[in-house]
């Protein structure tokens, strides 16, 4: 038996033994489903969510490619593929959703000191610390580098003052990775540093923002004379912009994958919605106008999925493709939701009350939420700028 075959056998056995019944195919639908983000204040409706996270965290399999010394799985790419396949076969739930995994850990691995890596990455992998991202500010959206939250050098530590906005789940997070201005006199890109801040520090406060969907996944985060130890600086002083850009690539890759995965794995499927509300004849959506629009959209998503696969096969030529994937992943996600809303008729714009099914009301909220996809993490227009300049080499004005 080759090493990989043995790894597959062992993985299969381990999953069989350790993946709790409610975390895989055939789970009892009456058991409540947790969205597991971990952290100090995590609450679980289903105790098996916690068990599953702990077991996967212990193995380091929430970040399987990270070296074991930082608490990761230490697996090769081929082994990760096997792990994913075996998890897919039994329908194993992702044990942990985490900005730490998707965004922070990859840049810590690249830019952090040995101490910083050993301190923070294992806690991300085990889901012990939940992270949020402090990038945007009220006056700095697409022009992120104009940010003004300042960090002054006061000897042993930095003194942080300012405001961040669009901080996802800041009210639930334990720590924040933030961009702060440390060089007020430098050109705007050269005076930014990348700082880790404990949300429990004195002077940090948060306030949720209600979105058009009626939900509040984002907050405003305020820093009022917050003291941050100097060892929490990642990379060099005033060299945070490079790290920020790198992290944005990870974020964009994640958002685009998320859009695609949501479309493929979701119970919300445009075809079944269209068949339900518009009728079906010989297995076909009855209304040919909707049918052709849906088919056009499906073809585009299919081509996009193949492009993600090709980028993977090519070994990922990062920055160029990250912008394209962010752009298409989010635009397709928006389009898919528009089609589902349209195909649902008035049920697609249901807001509340008992006259409508939960699936209709949830669709309305989800559709509204997608409007933020092409704004957060760099707008679609910013992605087009990046492609024009960095990929196509078109001149600036």
């Amino acid at each position: 038996m080759t090493d990989l075959n043995k790894f597959r056998e062992d993985t299969k056995k381990w999953l069989d033994k350790n993946c709790p019944p409610s975390m895989r195919n055939g789970a009892d639908p009456k058991i409540p489903v947790d969205e597991v983000w971990g952290g100090r204040n995590a609450v679980y409706k289903n105790p098996e969510s916690k068990i599953w996270l702990e077991r996967m965290g212990e193995k380091g399999w929430t970040m399987p490619t990270v070296p074991k010394e930082y608490g990761g799985g230490g697996l090769t790419k081929d082994e990760v593929k096997i792990l994913n396949e075996e998890m897919f076969f039994i329908g194993a739930k992702q044990p942990l959703l985490s900005f730490g995994i998707w965004m922070l850990a990859p840049v810590l691995l690249e830019y952090g000191t040995e101490e910083q890596k050993k301190l923070h990455i294992p806690k991300i992998i085990k889901g012990e610390i939940r992270w949020c991202q402090g990038y945007s500010e009220p006056g700095s959206g697409s022009d992120l580098a104009s940010l003004s939250t300042k960090a002054e050098d006061i000897g042993e530590s930095f003194l942080v003052n300012g405001q961040k906005v669009w901080t996802s789940y800041a009210d639930k997070a334990d720590w924040i990775f933030a961009l702060v201005r440390t060089g007020p006199k430098e050109p705007k890109h050269d005076g930014i540093s990348f700082l880790l801040i404990d949300m429990a520090s004195k002077g940090v406060s948060t306030k949720p923002i209600t979105l058009i969907s009626g939900k509040s996944p984002f907050c405003e985060t305020f820093f009022d004379n917050v003291e941050v130890p100097k060892e929490n600086l990642i990379g060099e002083l005033n060299a945070g912009w490079t790290i920020a850009k790198k992290l944005l690539q990870h974020e964009r890759a994640f958002i685009s994958n998320f859009g695609l995965a949501a479309g493929m794995g979701s119970k919300r499927d445009v075809v079944s919605i269209a068949k339900k509300h518009l009728g079906e004849e010989d297995g076909k959506i009855k209304n040919t106008f909707y049918r052709s629009e849906i088919s056009s959209h499906k073809i585009k998503e299919h081509a996009f999925g193949l492009t993600l696969k090709r980028a993977g096969d090519e070994g990922g030529k990062a920055s160029a493709t990250a912008s394209m994937f962010k752009l298409y992943g989010t635009e397709h996600n928006k389009k898919r939701h528009e089609l589902m809303v349209a195909a649902s008729g008035v049920n697609g714009v249901a807001w509340d009350g008992d006259e409508f099914e939960d699936s209709d009301k949830n669709l309305t909220r989800a559709w509204l939420r997608t409007k933020g996809n092409s704004i957060e993490g760099g707008t679609s227009e910013v992605q087009l700028n990046v492609i024009s300049k960095r990929v196509l080499g078109l001149p600036s004005q």
Partner: protein, 379 residues
């Protein structure tokens, strides 16, 4: 299914890039268009292509080919399309070679394949009979008479039909127009009495013909595949053709885009390069992305064909739709971004627009394939 080129494919691609640039730059096509050449491709150039082994890419080694499959010929077609190289490679090297090799008898293979490999024999595939692609609408009649069949009817828009030595024709042996059953393919010598080729003048200045058959007698040995099984076989042959033409269309789009991008970096107005205008930058970036999606679609489809994947039909329709829409977009934008010179005959970019619209019609438009994709996907 890996969506990257193998070493051999990369080698073929590099050879084809050099060949297209050196032996058939766009002015080669322009010269043919402006000549009174009835064939509209160059015999000497085809001879050179044959020496490189290109007509035999899809043919097994026992008949002299190199057996690199559809993927191998797709990369060559894609590169040759960048300079709009006219040649029989599509109709002969893909359609003819694939049909005969896949569905022919041992005798047919021995008779035709080696001749295709060395460039002596060109073929055409005669399917449609009206302005829109629809193989099951065939009325072209084949009537059995003793051991022979009598062929009568008219085929339209036959690629390379004006010059091919051999015609593979889709005929109805029973049933009526619209049925997917009762169809049979015949391999017919194009010189036979009763066959009349009417050369077509199309916008892209390539070799097409309408072909009439007036009681043409052929023996039952000329049946390709089995009697009345062509409903399925023609769809398979067409799928291979659709993927190959998609690869060509991808090459057309890439070249039209690159030419346009160069122009954006050279042309000045209002004292600045027009490529610095965001109104043009964003449209250029969108074209770049659409081309990337097209590359993936074409590659997935050609791999599916070579691996005989269950998803071949759907991926073929995907590739034809995506390449059609991308080339449509790019060919229009290329003209607009070139401004006034874009609509002059002197400048090459207009050739891509004309080629685009004709290629979009070949073996089904994007609309045809969007519908087919839905049918095959179960909605």
């Amino acid at each position: 299914m890996k969506l990257i080129l193998t070493e051999e494919e990369q080698f073929l691609k590099d050879t084809a890039t050099n060949f297209a640039n050196e032996r058939s730059p766009i002015n080669h096509f322009r010269a043919l268009r402006d000549s009174n050449d009835p064939i509209l491709w160059d015999k000497d150039l085809w001879h050179e292509m044959s020496k490189l082994g290109w007509p035999g890419i899809m043919i097994p080694e026992e008949f002299g080919g190199s057996n690199f499959g559809l993927s191998g010929i797709c990369v060559v077609l894609q590169e040759c399309a960048k300079t709009l190289t006219p040649s029989p490679l599509f109709a002969t090297g893909v359609l003819g070679a694939y049909s005969i090799n896949t569905y022919g008898t041992q005798d047919q293979k021995e008779m035709y394949l080696p001749a295709i490999v060395n460039g002596e024999l060109t073929t055409s595939l005669a399917v449609d009979e009206a302005s829109h692609h629809n193989p099951f609408q065939t009325e072209f009649n084949a009537k059995k008479q003793n051991d022979n069949f009598i062929l009568s009817g008219k085929k339209t828009f036959v690629i390379d039909g004006a010059s091919s030595d051999l015609i593979i024709v889709l005929a109805r042996t029973s049933g009526s127009k619209g049925d997917s059953t009762g169809l049979t393919l015949f391999v017919v010598d194009a010189d036979q009495d009763g066959i009349n080729k009417i050369k077509l003048d199309m916008a892209d200045s390539r070799n097409y013909a309408n072909i009439t058959f007036d009681n043409v007698t052929v023996s039952s040995d000329s049946i390709l595949g089995d009697l009345e099984t062509a409903g399925e076989t023609i769809d398979d042959i067409l799928d291979i053709g659709r993927i190959a033409i998609s690869a060509e269309m991808l090459g057309n789009a890439e070249a039209a885009f690159d030419t346009t991008l160069d122009y954006l970096k050279q042309r000045k107005q209002f004292g600045v390069l027009i490529g610095s205008f965001q109104a043009l930058q964003h449209r250029a970036a969108e074209m770049f992305c659409e081309i990337e999606l097209t590359k993936s679609s074409v590659m997935a489809a050609m791999r599916a064909a070579d691996e005989r994947s269950n998803d071949l039909q759907r991926l073929s329709s995907l590739a034809k739709t995506v390449s059609g829409e991308t080339l449509h977009l790019v060919s229009n934008e290329a003209i607009q971004m070139h401004g006034g010179i874009g609509v002059t005959d002197e400048y090459d970019i207009g050739f891509f627009l004309k080629r685009a619209r004709v290629a979009e019609q070949i073996f089904g438009s994007s609309k045809f394939h969007t519908e087919r994709y839905a049918n095959l996907s179960g909605f």
